[in-house]
């Protein structure tokens, strides 16, 4: 495992750059543990100061140091996105592969459930859920809720690949070798859907973080947990874009972009690594 990572790091520039960017963001997020200010306290520093040596990324109109605030926000946001992505990936993989493999009645049943999740309009459900949960609404609950709503589409995608994998002869070979369904799915089929899983993970991350921002901007989240969405929420409340407090928006956006480009490069290079074609290329070469 380590050897693979090392090799990737040495020979694959995309991987190296991606790794560096993600590392940077992770370090930044970890800094939150050393913040001199509690994340929700305001007016701990003079407001509206542009970036300077004293305040590296400037200060907000709420008298918060953007640097420290951002470290909390990016940490929570990434954790949020990864939680949603992780749970929803597992759901979509299991359901997609099983439905595609088994076909027939089971497929019909699973896809009915799947389709119900696809057709339920997300936004009103999330907003109404927010109202129903009232004071208990929290970061983790929202993540769980979004994970439960965010798997269906990708499960369908995975199912369609699984269906065509099911018709391939090596699947039959696996079955006649006595492999269990779990073995066939995990060992035979999973490698073929992993590229999809990786790229949908990126989309899912993007989707969940985007939705979190949307809900926050509209005020439908718990504003006591600093996230990128909550940060934008407050910036928006202070009309930061028009008031010229650009650093309140620019640095968070920049960091999100860095995080995503980093993750994207990692995903691409990992994809290249696990992608059946490039794997074949590699073993050929």
């Amino acid at each position: 495992m380590w050897r693979i990572l090392r090799d990737l790091f040495r020979h694959n520039r995309a991987f190296a750059v991606g790794m560096a960017l993600v590392f940077f963001v992770v370090v930044f997020a970890t800094l939150s543990l050393f913040s001199p200010y509690p994340p929700n306290d305001s007016f701990v520093v003079p407001p509206d100061l542009p970036p300077s040596w004293a305040y590296l990324l400037g200060t907000t109109s709420r008298g918060q140091d953007v640097f420290w605030l951002l470290s909390f926000s990016i940490r929570n946001t990434l954790l949020f996105g990864l939680t949603v992505a992780f749970i929803s990936r597992i759901l979509s993989l299991v359901i997609g592969l099983v439905a595609g493999y088994l076909g027939g009645v089971m497929d019909r049943v699973l896809m009915s459930i799947n389709d119900t999740f696809i057709v339920i309009p997300l936004f009103p459900i999330l907003v109404l859920f927010y109202f129903v949960m009232r004071d208990r609404m929290s970061w983790s609950l929202l993540a769980l809720m979004m994970a439960c709503l965010g798997w269906a589409y990708d499960a369908r995608l995975i199912r369609s690949v699984a269906m065509s994998l099911r018709t391939r002869e090596f699947t039959e070979t696996g079955i006649f070798s006595g492999m269990s369904m779990r073995q066939v799915l995990v060992q035979e089929h999973l490698p073929y859907v992993l590229p999809i899983v990786f790229s949908t993970t990126m989309n899912n991350l993007n989707w969940s973080i985007g939705l979190e921002v949307t809900l926050s901007v509209l005020g439908f989240t718990d504003i006591n947990t600093p996230t990128i969405g909550v940060l934008i929420y407050w910036a928006n409340q202070h009309t930061a874009l028009v008031a010229g407090i650009w650093w309140w928006i620019a640095f968070p956006v920049l960091l999100v972009v860095i995080a995503f480009v980093g993750l994207f490069l990692l995903a691409v290079s990992m994809n290249e690594y696990i992608d059946p074609r490039s794997r074949l290329d590699r073993v050929h070469g």
Binding site: P121, V253, V256, V261
Partner: protein
């Protein structure tokens, strides 16, 4: 009765089931919110104005009767399905007595117009670029385009929209920043109105395209990378078929199948509206209606909008499922 007819029937059954379950979930969720339309109405009616506590009690009572909320949840549930059966969503509670259908009908053309154009445009651009990038994997320009698309993708939509707005509405004020068309303009099929319509849609469409591009790009790129491994592509390459023809008729065509599914679903999902777009650009549409309905506790309106959306998305999924076996014989064989 096996075969396509059975498939069709069972798929239709599934469609009906999914719509039924979806609408029930919507019903349950909308009715379990703590927002009471009567209280909202009273609050709005008495805000800033004089209030007489005794009168409020009386008002509460008569509104309850007026809105048909007297019967309790069971009766409302029955009434809901009875109305759906005749294709009616009843009156909106926050704009009583105007029918929900009228409100939704007024907003939908805008939403559909804006989102169909931007969704299709995004889809075409994203897939074209993604397909190229997936096929010519060594091309520097395409690699750069890929990184650019991905860099744009994670920027919160709100920010992208606002930056566009500030850029073209203030710093270089060449485009209108609000509304769907020029105020006080005769709506109709005339050049002025159409020009105004186009002009007002540029920024919303541009923002949606910019943000949406990355997703399709990424998806298509990885799909193409997958398809490229298939034997028939290798054979075609060995057989001396030109690279461009391979890309178009072998690679893209096959990779597009799941993307078409995605497109259909995105098109179905447009009935949710684009809430932030509508908010930022002051564009008329279903999103604003939905948010205000949620705030007002207007179950009827929320249910009306979600029902339309559920049916639209289900129908899109159904269409894809019905067409799929006709396109892909491997699926048919099962």
């Amino acid at each position: 009765m096996p075969g396509y007819a059975a498939y069709l029937l069972s798929r239709l059954g599934q469609f009906v089931l999914v719509v039924f379950i979806g609408m029930n979930i919507s019903f349950i969720v909308t009715h379990s919110t703590p927002i009471d339309p009567v209280e909202q109405t009273i609050a709005a009616a008495t805000q800033y104005g004089s209030t007489n506590p005794e009168a409020i009690a009386l008002m509460r009572q008569s509104l309850r009767e007026l809105y048909g909320l007297e019967g309790g949840l069971g009766a409302q549930y029955v009434a809901f399905w009875r109305r759906i059966a005749v294709g009616d969503f009843g009156p909106s509670l926050s704009a009583f007595p105007t029918p929900v259908a009228v409100l939704v009908g007024r907003a939908i053309p805008w939403t559909v117009g804006l989102l169909v154009v931007s969704t299709v445009l995004t889809w075409i651009l994203g897939n074209a670029l993604g397909g190229l990038a997936g096929y010519y994997r060594k091309n520097r320009v395409l690699r750069f385009a890929g990184i650019l698309a991905m860099a744009f993708h994670p920027i919160p939509y709100y920010i992208v929209a606002f930056i566009l707005l500030i850029t073209f509405g203030y710093l270089w004020p060449v485009l209108p920043i609000s509304g769907g068309y020029m105020m006080n303009m005769e709506r109709g099929f005339n050049l002025g109105f159409i020009m105004s319509l186009l002009e007002h849609s540029i920024l919303p469409i541009l923002s949606l395209v910019l943000v949406g591009l990355g997703g399709w790009f990424m998806g298509m790129r990885s799909l193409v990378s997958n398809v490229v491994t298939e034997d028939y592509v290798t054979y075609a390459e060995l057989g001396g078929v030109s690279r461009r023809r391979i890309l178009v008729s072998y690679v893209m065509r096959n990779a597009l199948v799941p993307q078409v599914t995605g497109l259909a679903m995105s098109l179905g999902a447009i009935f949710n509206g684009a809430i932030i777009t509508e908010q930022v650009f002051g564009y008329p549409g279903i999103g604003t209606l939905l948010v205000s309905a949620v705030h007002a506790g207007d179950y009827s309106l929320v249910l009306g909008i979600t029902s339309v959306s559920i049916v639209a998305v289900s129908a899109a999924v159904l269409m894809i499922d019905l067409l799929y076996p006709l396109l892909d014989p491997r699926v048919r064989a099962r």
